[in-house]
């Protein structure tokens, strides 16, 4: 891989992506929902690809392959349980969508604040999301830096890689807000699924086919085909990893905000099914990469080298290697720009507008646009500093965001839930998870990933029962859901009437 090949490829990618981003514009968006939600008019296909690109960060290809290399088939189980958790969209998606439409919510935190009639809940959820997701973005950026530096043998330095990814992420979000982000996400998702499947195919062919690959694994690394296997995936570790990820689709605002965006429930369905098909292929491909690396290069110094080694091997033509490398960079960008936009909308809508009442929509949007690069620069600074604390916060992100889950489920299913209960649950669990990670992440032998959901539920239910719910907002919220979701297409109703008459 020569340096000029890499720079040319990056330039071509940028040219295409910028073209797509510019084409995605639809006149100036002057409202919060226009800029951050695409006017709630996103179609299913783009939504599905963008949802996939946002969810699957750079670490799917590097991290999951590495996890398979080190821990065996348990890595597949971990992803499949996360994947099954996305079915929560089938349950919560229509409800999110209905209240979003009815009350004009822009952020999930705004929804919780309104449902529990508490500005503090909205603010707490927004701030906690920033605390966990900015470091998570920083680690994504650092990952791009290491990857580019590693694959090019230092021709592209760590700092160049990190700055490049940050600039691209800011740029993509500025062109047309969520619209340009979703369209460039789609480009990235398509490019990645094609290139990575091709790599898996070529490598497996090179190793003698699927049968030969698994024969090698069965004879030389039999433990990699079972759990607990080589030891990484003890049952407790597996639980600790999978429980927070199971709730990812509702706990992470950058994806739950997507539930406000589809133009119809039909589009939401297409988003969900499209994501599941994409995610399934991507998961299988990443796991097969890890297995292939284990069969071909069993003695790597570190599992994180599995993907770079595979890409640089004789099985993969250099051009394809470069495409995947750019794809991995783009994957980081597509995750970060969505997180930036979501956090910016939360800061402006739920923190700024709550601290300073009566601010106009236009002013909120202005603040939101100002916050986007601030968040990006914070992530950039964290990535450059490479502090241990940041790594800890990033790892804690999935466990920490579980803090919102009981309050969210309660919002839709438990009328007795109260604002104080939600607030104590979110703040208390976030603090608890941070404390767990700071002190070795083990309490009575169980990790924060297991404790988080327990602590959050106990706090939410316990404090709610000790306090009084706000009846009026609760009733309005539930009424809106049943009203909105009872609307059937006239054709089917007509048909049903006719059938009944016959």
């Amino acid at each position: 891989m020569t340096e000029s090949l890499i720079w040319w490829s990056i330039a071509i990618y940028l040219l295409i992506a910028i073209g797509i981003a510019i084409m995605s514009r639809q006149g100036p968006s002057e409202s919060m929902s226009g800029y951050f939600l695409g006017n709630r008019q996103m179609n299913g296909f783009v939504s599905a690809l963008s949802y996939s690109a946002t969810t699957y960060s750079a670490f799917m290809m590097v991290g999951l392959a590495g996890l398979t290399y080190a821990g065996g088939v348990g890595a597949l189980g971990f992803e499949i349980i996360y994947f099954a958790g996305v079915s929560l969209v089938a349950v919560f998606g229509p409800k999110f969508w209905a209240v979003g439409k009815k009350f004009g919510y822009v952020t999930p935190s705004e929804m919780l604040g309104h449902r529990y009639n508490s500005k503090h809940v909205a603010m707490a959820v927004s701030i906690a999301s920033c605390i966990f997701l900015i470091p998570y973005s920083a680690v994504q950026l650092a990952g791009v830096g290491y990857l580019l530096q590693g694959i090019t043998d230092g021709a592209i330095t760590f700092t160049t890689g990190v700055v490049l990814a940050t600039v691209i992420a800011i740029f993509f979000s500025y062109i047309a807000g969520i619209r340009s982000v979703m369209w460039t996400d789609s480009l990235q998702a398509i490019m990645m699924i094609v290139a990575s499947t091709l790599v898996a195919f070529l490598v497996i062919q090179g190793l003698g086919g699927f049968g030969a690959l698994f024969d090698t694994l069965a004879t030389e690394h039999p433990q990699s085909l079972t759990v607990p296997g080589p030891g990484l995936f003890s049952f407790v570790t597996f639980l600790g990893l999978t429980i927070p990820w199971f709730f990812f689709s509702i706990s992470n605002p950058q994806v739950s905000q997507r539930l406000f965006m589809p133009s119809s429930l039909r589009s939401m369905r297409h988003m969900l099914i499209g994501f599941l098909v994409f995610g399934f292929i991507y998961t299988m491909v990443s796991v097969l990469w890890g297995f292939s690396a284990l069969a071909a290069f069993p003695s790597l110094a570190s599992a994180d080298l599995a993907t770079p080694t595979l890409l640089a091997s004789e099985f993969v033509p250099p051009v394809l290697g470069v495409i995947v490398m750019i794809g991995i960079m783009a994957a980081a960008v597509s995750t970060i720009d969505s997180i930036m936009l979501t956090l910016a909308s939360m800061v402006s809508r739920d923190v700024y507008a709550n601290v300073k009442p009566n601010v106009s929509e236009k002013r909120q949007l202005l603040v939101g646009k100002f916050v986007v690069p601030v968040i990006a620069l914070m992530a950039l600074a964290f990535a450059e500093l490479q502090l241990d604390l940041i790594a800890v916060l990033s790892v804690a992100a999935s466990s920490g965001l579980v803090a919102m889950v009981p309050a969210l489920i309660g919002a839709f299913y438990w009328k007795r839930g109260t604002g104080v209960g939600a607030l104590v649950s979110v703040v208390g669990t976030s603090a608890f998870v941070l404390l767990m990670y700071a002190t070795g992440n083990s309490l009575l032998g169980l990790p924060a990933g297991v404790w988080g959901i327990v602590v959050a539920s106990v706090l939410f239910v316990g404090v709610s029962l000790a306090t009084k719910p706000h009846q009026a907002t609760t009733d309005a919220f539930f009424a809106a859901i049943s009203e909105e979701l009872s609307k059937k297409r006239s054709t089917t109703t007509d048909q049903a009437t006719k059938e009944a008459a016959a």
């Binding site: 597949l76 079972t226 639980l239 297409r489």
Partner: protein
């Protein structure tokens, strides 16, 4: 049975995805052990979601 109730089958697949590989399949070090099990679990999740969300098509946007 209401279509949405089928979500419980999804949760059952999740439960089995914890139980089966760690018990029945923990000694099957072949491709048709946990690898195949989790792969089929993934496909089952897709099929169930297609079925459960079928009603979404009938919802009116207005």
């Amino acid at each position: 049975m209401k279509r949405s109730k089928w979500i419980w089958l999804v949760w059952a697949v999740v439960l089995l995805s914890y139980l089966v590989p760690y018990t029945l399949l923990s000694g099957v070090a072949l491709w048709y052990g946990s690898f195949l099990f989790w792969m089929l679990a993934g496909l089952a999740i897709i099929a169930l979601n297609v079925f459960i969300t079928k009603d979404f098509e009938e919802h009116s946007n207005d």
